[in-house]
């Protein structure tokens, strides 16, 4: 279990995020939602060890009770932009994290290639990112995140660049992959429909300064999640977000 406690992020005299705490459990997908500019991405960037240097942050991260220095191999980060390097093939891109952690290049590629069929990327091993559709690129980016074998995954708006239909397909696809290979996931989104569709738990962030204003478990089984069954939860989330904005 990953615990983050008392995260405060400041830019000069301005407090962006104030005393924010959250915990992530293996096998559970937690969605962090909130209005644009509330500091969602800053939280995830801090946990990944890549917060912009002009921002000052204080807070603590523990994994199973032990302090965790950041960035840490137990935490894998997937930025909002898919960040597949255009000059590398999909296999080379996917193996990047393993190579940086010191794995031999050939061994890293073998490990990555073995995962391609399961991710629906078979046949695209030696393609370049610009030859792939948005959905396939997102699968490749997710493969790169998963293959690092980190217990915690931080996904920053992974579906924001996709068209509506691909987006729905990819949401199902992601939850299927995570069911096969459970991790503790924190997924940032501004879309409350998406959050309620895929999450086990939704954390709602308010803005100015960023803090958690509600912690809502989604107990409806995924298979039973429909417009009707989620209507009440969505209405509540919507009013919470609107209240914060006013």
């Amino acid at each position: 279990m990953l615990e983050m406690q008392g995260l405060t992020i400041r830019a000069g005299n301005k407090t962006l995020v104030e005393n924010l705490s959250l915990d992530l459990v293996t096998g559970r997908l937690t969605c962090l939602i909130g209005p644009s500019g509330c500091g969602k991405s800053s939280v995830i960037k801090w946990l990944s060890g890549v917060l912009a240097p002009e921002l000052r942050a204080e807070g603590q991260v523990r994994m199973d009770g032990a302090d965790l220095p950041l960035p840490h191999p137990a935490i894998a980060y997937q930025p909002q932009q898919d960040t597949l390097f255009p000059w590398l093939t999909i296999v080379e891109n996917a193996a990047l994290g393993l190579k940086i952690r010191g794995m031999d290049g050939a061994a890293a590629q073998r490990k990555v290639r073995a995962l391609f069929p399961g991710f629906g990327l078979e046949g695209h091993e030696d393609s370049f990112p610009d030859q792939l559709s948005g959905g396939l690129r997102q699968r490749a980016a997710f493969l790169r995140t998963m293959v690092q074998d980190a217990r915690v995954l931080l996904l920053d708006e992974p579906f924001s660049a996709l068209d509506a239909v691909t987006r729905l397909k990819m949401q199902d696809w992601l939850t299927e992959r995570l069911a096969e290979d459970p991790r503790a996931v924190l997924l940032v989104t501004h879309d409350l429909f998406e959050a309620t569709q895929i999450a086990d738990r939704v954390l709602v962030m308010g803005s100015r300064p960023g803090r958690i204003i509600a912690d809502i478990p989604i107990t409806t089984p995924r298979i039973a999640r429909t417009e009707a069954s989620l209507a009440d939860t969505r209405a509540m989330l919507k009013s919470l977000l609107l209240e914060d904005l006013s």
Partner: protein, 253 residues
């Protein structure tokens, strides 16, 4: 067909230009001491081909050594400046200032300081050609998207790994752009250096031809110099094509 469509206008305009020049000289009976006709220049090239080849070889040698060292130097300097902010702030004004020095003034001084050998010429070529490459490389490193850097750092990459895996490949297009600009200066700078003092080379050939009132031979050497620069550019283009298949995706995607 498309090749013909690309090349034909250039060939036609060149032929028209040379035709006008030839007829002007013939009609006005201008002295070849002042303005030789293209046919005179061509004749000069034919008659003097052995001497021109010998001098061109010397020029190619100097330009080749100078330009190669310049590329190496530019890459090393750009890496150092990229990693050390204080060095960048300290050196950039000096590098810019080095570009404001007129070569006409510097070339004879170089000969005075370093003699008639290879060194002053090579130094002059480096001085003229390395700056565009340094600036292009620095600009190229800066194009690395923030998200690419973040991705690598979150995976545990250090500054050097971020540079090698992402910043350096990102700078490839800029590097070749700088290389092309520098290449156009390389031969000209060598000829300038030879002009100031040399035993062999197109520069000294031009100087001798001018002193003997042989405008036709001056222009013959100029033709050779232009051909050398075009060959160098073609070579760089070829290297870019052959080595950069996967990198072109980045720019033409």
């Amino acid at each position: 067909m498309s090749v013909l469509r690309h090349i034909l206008p250039a060939v036609v305009s060149a032929l028209v230009f040379l035709g006008c020049w030839e007829s002007y000289v013939a009609l006005t009976e201008t002295s070849p001491l002042v303005l030789p006709a293209p046919s005179d220049v061509l004749n000069g090239l034919r008659v003097e081909r052995a001497a021109l080849a010998r001098h061109a070889a010397a020029t190619i040698g100097v330009a080749g050594i100078g330009f190669s060292l310049s590329v190496l130097f530019a890459v090393l300097v750009s890496v150092a400046l990229h990693f050390a902010g204080w060095l960048r702030r300290g050196m950039m004004p000096l590098l810019v200032a080095s570009q404001t020095v007129p070569i006409v003034a510097l070339a004879p001084l170089m000969v005075l300081w370093f003699g008639f050998g290879l060194l002053p010429k090579v130094l002059l070529v480096i001085l003229v050609t390395f700056f565009p490459m340094v600036v292009s490389l620095m600009a190229g490193y800066a194009t690395l998207p923030r998200a690419f850097r973040d991705q690598l750092v979150s995976m545990g990459a250090g500054r050097w790994q971020v540079f090698r895996l992402a910043a350096l490949p990102s700078a490839r297009g800029h590097f070749f752009a700088g290389l092309r600009i520098s290449a156009t200066y390389a031969i000209v700078a060598t000829i300038f250096a030879e002009y100031a003092g040399a035993r062999r080379g197109l520069g000294i050939y031009i100087l001798t031809a001018k002193n003997n009132f042989r405008a036709d031979l001056v222009l013959s050497a100029v033709v050779i110099s232009a051909l050398l620069t075009l060959t160098l550019l073609a070579l760089i283009h070829l290297i870019d094509r052959v080595t950069g298949r996967r990198h072109r995706r980045a720019t033409h995607a």
